[in-house]
Amino acid sequence: MADAGLQLAIILAYLLVALAIGLVAYRVTERTAEDYFLASRTFGTVVLLFTTFATLLSAFTFFGGPSLSYSAGPEWILVMGTMDGVLFGVLWYVIGYKQWLAGRAHGYVTLGEMLGDRFGSRALRMAVAGVSLFWLIPYVMLQQQGAGTALEALTDGAVPYWVGAGGITLFMIVYVTLSGMRGVAWTDTLQGIFMLGMVWIAVGWVLHSVGGASAATAALADAEPGHLSLGGGLYTPAYMVSTAVSIAFGVTMFPQVNQRFFVARSEAVLKRTFTLWPVLVVLLFVPAFMLGAWAAGLGVSPNANGRILPPLLNAYTPAWFGALVVAGAMAAMMSSSDSMLLSGSSYLTRDVYRQVAETVTDRREALVGQGAVVAIAVVAFVASLFRPGTLVQIGDTAFGGFAQLALPVLVALYWRGTTRDGMLAGVLGSQAFYLASVFLPMVPDGYVLPGLGGLGAWSSSVVGMALGLVLTVGVSAVTTPSAAENPDRYEELSAE
């Protein structure tokens, strides 16, 4: 392919810019754990907004979402807006603001640390970290796989899968280990702005070529009339609500997002980010998913990986622009993965290593943290070479797995009557149920409510969340707190 050289050059240039930003961040980063993992809680609005935004996005924005809109209609816009735009915004306040206050008052760096301190329980701390790493690492693997296959497809195989995925992994290791949270957030900001720009240019270009949005939608109405009507097929009310609820709550417990609740410089930053959130979500997802939906009316077929956006851009835009969008997709994938590596490393270092190792200095903890980034990245990369079915399934169901943590945490943050035993029951019980629904054939993954069959089946993730809530509250009610618990830990917090 003649354009392969040009396309690779564009992607390499993009990577070099990101690396340069990482190096600048390295120069100002102190060698302490709080600075490495949290940039010493100093982020302003633009950086916090875009680093959270970019972290939420993954290959799904460019590949999965548009492809689903192509095959089933653009209703995913509504699912995405409801979960990321509205529900996540509400949770940003209810969970995020409270966590920020608690984190600032007591110096927490991870979720497990916050819970372990309140409940005086090392077991709970390690359980939360263990559950998180269990879902996180396969998810990182899927991101690497996405980047590897995208590069392979873009270059028609000139860059084999393992070189592409390996190169991206190595690149991320370098800038994450060097620059920590600050470098990750700065590159996220670049990546977020880049993605947003690319999507709008792509929409403009494609619509200009086909005669405008009305013409594109009319063509879609002719080819797939069902796609324009709200609901139908895949999209039952229960599917849309289950997906939005499960992912929105799941997102708040994903380590890389949860940790961002700790990093705002001030309350004003949290407020501004919260306000701008819904608009930013609409700006990205409406155009990205409409592109996929329109493709169904334009006679474009998905490529060998089942992705619709690359062939659509090939049909209507020059090759260099397609390469830029693939670079944008890799930016999306990297901005999730780099943050996941860093957060995963902080969980491993603080909630596991420090719990078993004696007398750890700050400097040493930061070093171990860097080692853990390398270890997680390499393990996930090697796994992506073999892609064992079990790991793929864990990665695919990770949002549901994280969602199980959200309600016990919410109860702990607001109800003084919560006990350690209640937390352990809620966290471990819901995980056991959800895992069983993913892996055991006799435990179904969809539940139709009696009398409400018309709404469709509710996902096991939502059912598990309800179970976790009942277990946390119920077991807390019948157990008494141990002497090591501090029910007042999250009370009387103020922003002053």
Binding site: L101, S229, L230, E491
Partner: protein, 90 residues
């Protein structure tokens, strides 16, 4: 005198707690409405289009813009409700 002022202070405090609780419930209802109507359920099955997009996509775009406005109002008038003041255990 002293006893009286303590009683007054208690009354003010309990009135304040009551008001804060109403405020918290009010904002919770607003949040629930924002979430519930982000998907226009009443347009289920509709495929009408306006200006090149299905009407239900326009509704969603408008609703999320409204959400930003409501979030801005909350930041201004309600921030802290249920978290730093007036939490259920007071």
């Amino acid at each position: 005198m002293r006893g009286e002022s303590i009683a007054t202070a208690k009354m003010v405090e309990s009135n304040g707690t009551g008001r804060r609780r109403i405020e918290a419930v009010g904002w919770a209802v607003v949040a629930a409405v924002l979430v519930a109507l982000a998907i226009p359920w009443f347009m289920w099955g509709s495929s009408a289009t306006v200006a090149g997009l299905p009407v239900w996509v326009w509704w969603h775009v408008g609703w999320l813009c409204l959400t930003t406005v409501v979030f801005a109002a909350f930041v201004r008038y309600g921030w802290g409700v249920g978290v730093t003041r007036g939490s259920t255990d007071g």
